[in-house]
């Protein structure tokens, strides 16, 4: 048995290239045991969940290393035994769709009519164009996770954004890419969480000005509702929150659209401009373009789907839906108020509807929080809390897959950290614009196209290369312009504060 096990291992290593090192998370002893036993035709309980495969050569996407998603919640200890149990926790394509919708239809939809005010038809075009580009970059990012093996089948060799980055920098700097992507991801995710706390505090404060509760107090109240997020264990429960969030967003859309349609006779069709306001439009570009950022979540989502082949379909439909809803909302709201459109469209609404829209917006902000929080926790756990000295700290999970109590404490500490940042950092929206134009643009436009070119260079057709390069360039331009405007805005805001 041992000899055949050795041969099996050699055969396996010959069949795949050095990416197989990624598989090495399986315990060596475990592996020997399983391969040896399988060659003898003995099925054991431990591998009962996995279908009877010829062994080790091709995986289908079921044979995945532990990494993101529900495996994070179960024993993240590197044994392959739990893989069979993963199928229970996998999410359907619909649930993945709700998560993506949560990410791309965010709070910034309220600023879109203002963008149309300053951008006219170009703004509308940009909404559609950004959806197409982001759908494309999402797909190429997931394409980077797969490699074709010798039999021509696609094998999922990498599991997360960090792995892709590491593979790209592989020869000379095997860990640098991963570190950069880790830092960018954590910043982006934590800033998103903080933004939701700030927005819910602000909305509540504006809805009830007669109560003696200040914005800070409302943020504390909102955070106390968000503390249970620390108990989230799987992407399935996060998907439920995303579903509710999408419903709330839909209700908001319906309310505002219905009100605008009731004033349809007043619409100012002639006021949609063909030219753009050069000073104010770049900020709107930022709002439009960076609102489609869902790429951070995609590797983890795709890895947890029951049928990853449905991924492309899901991406297309969610982006089409987002594009149509956003475009319609922006256009109709602009036509109703034309030149009087304010920066946040809820300021234009009359009192009664505004109160209801505010309530749903707060609900939406609170329900959107679990997704980036869960993703941030995953990224932190994978990079900082692993077993046996692979990372700085010991594993957060015990042997039964239970979260240790200090792990829970750390998660709650992250929630409190987002609260403290929300309370004490001034001009948070501007700061978010600043980091968004760096990390958001990087993770959504620059890095996917770069990695796609680097990893799949030999297999790309000319038009794909052209798309990748142009996306990289456009993304770079948007990023730089967004960065410059955010810096200008911050400097002005601080000057105003100092003089005040």
């Amino acid at each position: 048995a041992k000899v055949s096990g050795v041969f099996a291992r050699i055969g396996f290593q010959a069949a795949t290239d050095e990416e197989a090192l990624g598989f090495a998370e399986c315990d060596d002893l475990d592996y020997d045991y399983r391969q040896g036993m399988r060659m003898d035709g003995v099925q054991t309980d431990d591998t009962g969940g996995e279908p009877d495969r010829g062994g080790m050569v091709e995986g289908d996407s079921h044979y995945q290393r532990d990494g993101a998603g529900p495996r994070g919640s179960q024993a993240n200890t590197g044994t392959c035994e739990e893989l069979g149990a993963q199928d229970k926790q996998k999410i359907t394509a619909w649930e993945a769709g709700w998560n993506v919708t949560n990410a791309i239809q965010g709070m910034f939809v309220l600023g879109l009519p203002y963008a149309i005010l300053h951008g006219g038809y170009l703004g509308l075009f940009l909404i559609i164009f950004a959806a197409v580009v982001c759908c494309y970059t999402g797909k190429i990012l997931i394409a980077c996770l797969y490699e074709e093996n010798e039999d021509g089948e696609r094998v999922r060799v990498r599991d997360s954004y960090v792995d892709i980055a590491n593979a790209c920098c592989a020869p000379r700097f095997p860990a640098l890419g991963g570190h950069v992507v880790n830092v960018a991801q954590i910043i982006e995710l934590v800033m998103t969480c903080i933004l939701y706390v700030v927005v819910s505090g602000n909305l509540m404060y504006n809805s009830f000005p007669s109560l003696p509760i200040s914005q800070k107090a409302w943020s504390v109240i909102a955070t106390s509702a968000l503390v249970p997020c620390a108990f989230l264990k799987s992407l399935k429960s996060v998907s439920k929150f995303s579903l509710l969030c999408s419903l709330a967003h839909f209700v908001i859309n319906v309310l505002v659209l219905a009100y605008c349609l009731s004033r349809a006779h007043d619409w100012a069709w002639e006021k949609v401009k063909f030219y753009i306001d050069v000073k104010k439009f770049p900020i709107s570009i930022g709002i439009i373009v960076f609102s489609y950022t869902s790429q951070i979540f995609l590797p983890s989502l795709e890895g947890n789907m029951q049928k990853p082949s449905e991924f492309h379909c899901m991406m297309e439909w969610t982006h089409i839906a987002a594009c149509v809803l956003k475009g319609l909302f922006a256009l109709v709201a602009y036509l109703t108020w034309a030149d009087a459109t304010k920066e946040v469209i809820t300021d234009n609404l009359p009192g009664g509807i505004r109160a209801w829209v505010n309530i749903f917006l707060v609900a939406k902000a609170l329900l959107s929080y679990p997704l980036p929080f869960f993703a941030a926790v995953e990224v932190l756990e994978k990079s900082l809390f692993q077993d046996e000295g692979r990372a700085l700290f010991p594993n957060c999970y015990g042997s039964g897959g239970q979260l240790k109590s200090w792990g829970l404490g750390l998660r709650i500490a992250l929630v409190i950290f987002t609260l403290l940042m929300a309370i004490f950092v001034p001009h948070f929206a501007l700061l978010m614009g600043l980091t968004g134009s760096l990390t958001g643009a990087g993770l959504c436009f620059l890095l996917p196209s770069l990695f796609h070119l680097r990893l799949l260079w030999r297999k790309l057709l000319w038009h794909q290369v052209f798309f990748d390069v142009s996306i990289f360039v456009i993304g770079g331009v948007c990023s730089i312009s967004g960065f410059i405007h955010s810096i200008e805005g911050l400097i002005e805001a601080f000057k105003y504060n100092i003089h005040d």
Partner: protein, 267 residues
């Protein structure tokens, strides 16, 4: 003889002068402008003294919205103190502008559930501003040059329990109607501390009574801290409960923890 008479007359005259001065000093109200003492550069302190002791003290910063008139330093102050009524007059620019505040003290019955309590309160019942539109430094091409008076109608502001001083850092706005074509003039007072009655000792305010806005702001500022403490308490309790829950329901491990034992079993 003439010398003696002259000296007597002189001394009588001097003595009479002295008496007259003394009486003036004793009965005259001293008004002092101690504005140099305040920390806020726009704030002025006005004190009316009678019989050698302070009877009315006020400090505030005054601005008028329309003509950006502000009380300059060194304005002239006059005042009248009484048991139930008090007045404060501030004039500047050679009486081109005068700002007058009238205070009154009264008894109020606060009735609730059949029990009626009588409390004494004081308040401002009238504010007047006299301005001269022919004065060139603030008015250009005035429509109706001359002195006009703007006063409030049926005002009841700064209601405070008797024996206490009124404190308000927030801005209080009053609207005055002018005799000049009923024009409306808004004046704002901020950083106020006023006591027109029952000042116990010289230049010392009695116990302060905060205005509603200040009380609310104080509440608004302490509320986040209180809520934060409650949240922290809830979190500590939750983590402790979770910790003990884990300890109590720890699963029995079936497989040997140490994988080297595995090897011995099967190989």
């Amino acid at each position: 003889m003439e010398l003696i008479r002259f000296r007597t007359l002189d001394s009588v005259g001097v003595f009479l002068c002295f008496l007259w001065l003394l009486s003036k000093v004793l009965s005259e109200q001293e008004v002092e402008n101690l504005s140099g003492l305040s920390a806020n550069p726009d704030k002025d302190i006005f004190v009316v003294r009678e019989n050698g002791t302070t009877c009315l003290m006020a400090e505030f910063a005054l601005i008028t919205e329309q003509a950006t008139l502000a009380l300059p330093r060194g304005a002239e102050i006059e005042g009248k103190c009484g048991n139930t009524d008090a007045e404060l007059y501030v004039s500047w620019m050679n009486n081109a502008y005068t700002f007058r505040i009238y205070f009154s003290k009264e008894k109020r019955t606060v009735g609730s559930d059949g029990k009626e309590k009588e409390t004494e309160i004081w308040k401002i019942n009238k504010v007047q501003l006299v301005y001269d539109t022919s004065e060139s430094s603030h008015f250009i091409n005035a429509y109706n040059p001359g002195k006009h008076t703007a006063s409030t109608h049926r005002l009841s502001a700064l209601v405070t329990p008797a024996g206490r001083s009124y404190v308000c850092t927030a801005q209080q706005t009053l609207t005055l109607l002018s005799s000049d074509h009923q024009k409306g003039i808004t004046i704002s007072m901020s950083d106020i501390q006023i006591q027109p009655f029952d000042i116990k000792s010289d230049f010392v305010f009695s116990e302060p009574y905060k205005c509603m806005t200040d009380q609310r702001e104080q509440l608004e500022e302490t509320l986040p801290l209180v809520l934060g403490l409650i949240l922290g308490l809830i979190i500590v309790i939750t983590v402790t409960i979770y910790h003990f829950h884990l300890k109590l329901t720890a699963p029995q491990s079936q497989l040997p923890r140490d994988r080297s034992l595995y090897k011995n079993i099967f190989l």
